[in-house]
Symmetry: C2
Subunit: 328 residues, 2 copies
């Protein structure tokens, strides 16, 4: 491919997920030159996973048209738990068996390139901050709405990593301390337990068990009761689905408001599969925030959908490498 | 006084409250050389208030034994709402009538000294971070438990001021989104509505109205039902008071946990009048956090009482001036 329009130096971003690895070369302005995807096969353990990471990285560099000698650094985004500073995975639920594993140094050694580790949700937030919905801002909070709720915080241009690499774990904000729903983490009342795709489906199931009339009963019968199906039913006017989506927006508005009273960022960004619900859903979140946040932030804080889709992770990881290795 | 043991340059800290102004000169290591207190007479308007600010500042410098020419800058902590960057009070509830008032530049002009404005709770948090309970850490969250709940966040050595000067307003975290208590700000379910001294007294009143047996009934009768009285009754074994204090600790543990999942600081500090409740109260908060926070932060994050008492505000404000003007 032509390198025209791209600006060196270049960085390699790698987004490690429990199912897939996405990797791409990114230029100094955050433009991706390539993007490849490989399976993780996480359950085969970290050494097999490492070979897939290396494979994804090499294919991304091959596809980019530049050589390794032009890659200034590698950014690796991974699910936690981790010790970011030590470059260590601790006990990641989505990578079972990758326990106390020095993933950063292992990858650096194989790629023979300076590598940094970042939490995957933090990396995605940084990607949106750098070249996505938050471009030009100085602080951003991003929620990624999927099976769980990932979150990353960029404050004054820097990721809030936290003392124990637990910064920005805002899916686990407590929004309901009395009789709160059980979260996947084992605690109660967390945002994720109310507003993730999983939680949405669970709430739909509960409502159907209460015999609420809904077209979703057909989905239940044929095993297709997903967040997507619920959103589709809402867009077709199903009353239960509409209520479920409205409640989800309210929960997210509550979470966003607590972040506006804590970080008070320029922009709050929602990404992940559930934003397929589209503008009406975003407007509902905005409306909740306008009702319950402090007057000034509620008026001025931008509430937007993410723009980079599934590329936010590797672009952001490359951006993190740029922050670490760019000023040499 | 002797200047021995103090290290230049020096800064003047001013802590403006709705009732009193506290001011002192602080050395480069955060040691106060002087401390004076003056009434604010906030209801007489900002010009009268300004003359009291100037008076407090001059008395603090007089008492310090150094001259104005040795003061490198002034830090002013004030209640909000404000625009920190513009040095402007917007519409502060505790300073009625001081609306859209350029307090920073007014004070700088009168004192003929570089001045910065900071939110009072942020300044207090910075004081504790600099030379109090958080000395030697790199990130801190502080809750000040009084009539309301003030909060300040220091992350990576810097105050999280927020885009609209609403950073660290964590008294207004939503901890109970369904049927939450009414907060002084007009919204519902905020931490402050459950765990401030005011909220504690209100919950006591509600319990007494429900005819719960308690020695607090005598306090109610003679008009002395205060947070202090409730804590005293708890220390004497009154069952209702014990429950109220335990619940307060739980609410604070919930708030602390949400901050540990957001900022993940080195230390969370509680200050303000209510910490008179002493170590048993702190242990209760710690115990809640240990039960509901993520394993690693719950084990490692320090939960402590503040150490600077009522001096945190002016010492922290001086520290903010040091950050702004110290590197010349």
């Amino acid at each position: 491919m032509s390198l025209e329009g791209f600006r060196p130096p270049f960085y390699l971003g790698v987004d490690l997920g429990g199912t897939n690895i996405k990797s791409g070369v990114v230029d100094n302005d955050g433009l991706p030159l390539s993007s490849v995807s490989r399976p993780t096969e996480a359950d085969r353990g970290p050494e097999v996973g490492l070979s897939h990471l290396v494979d994804a990285a090499e294919r991304a560099v091959d596809a980019s048209g530049i050589g390794w000698n032009q890659i200034r650094g590698v950014g690796l985004g991974s699910p936690g738990t981790m010790d970011i500073h030590k470059g260590l995975l601790l006990d990641p639920p989505n990578l079972p068996g990758w326990t106390n594993w020095p993933i950063r140094d292992k990858l650096a050694e194989r790629l023979k390139c300076s590598t940094i580790l970042e939490n995957d949700a933090n990396a995605a937030a940084y990607g949106e901050y750098w070249v996505g919905a938050g471009r030009g801002t100085s602080s951003l909070v991003m929620f990624t709405l999927g099976t769980g709720i990932g979150c990353g915080i960029v404050e004054n241009g820097k990721i809030v990593q936290g003392r124990h690499s637990h910064g920005g774990e805002c899916g686990h904000l407590i929004i309901q301390m009395e009789d709160g729903r059980l979260c996947s983490c084992g605690q109660y009342g967390h945002l994720e337990a109310y507003a993730s795709a999983t939680a949405l489906v669970k709430r739909a199931l509960e409502a159907l068990e209460e015999h609420e009339p809904s077209s979703l009963r057909a989905n239940l019968a044929n095993g297709s009761l997903t967040a997507h199906a619920i959103n589709l039913a809402a867009s077709e006017g199903d009353l239960l689905a509409l209520r479920l989506m409205r409640e989800t927006a309210r929960y997210l508005g509550v979470g966003a408001t607590s972040l506006m009273h804590t970080i008070d960022p320029d922009i709050i960004v929602f990404g992940g599969g559930m934003i397929g619900a589209g503008l009406p859903f975003l407007e509902q979140i905005r409306s909740v925030v306008q009702q319950i946040a402090f007057p000034l932030p509620s008026k001025e804080t931008r509430i937007e959908f993410a723009q980079l889709g599934g590329d936010a992770g590797f672009i952001g990881a490359a951006g993190c490498a740029r922050m670490s290795f760019g000023k040499s």
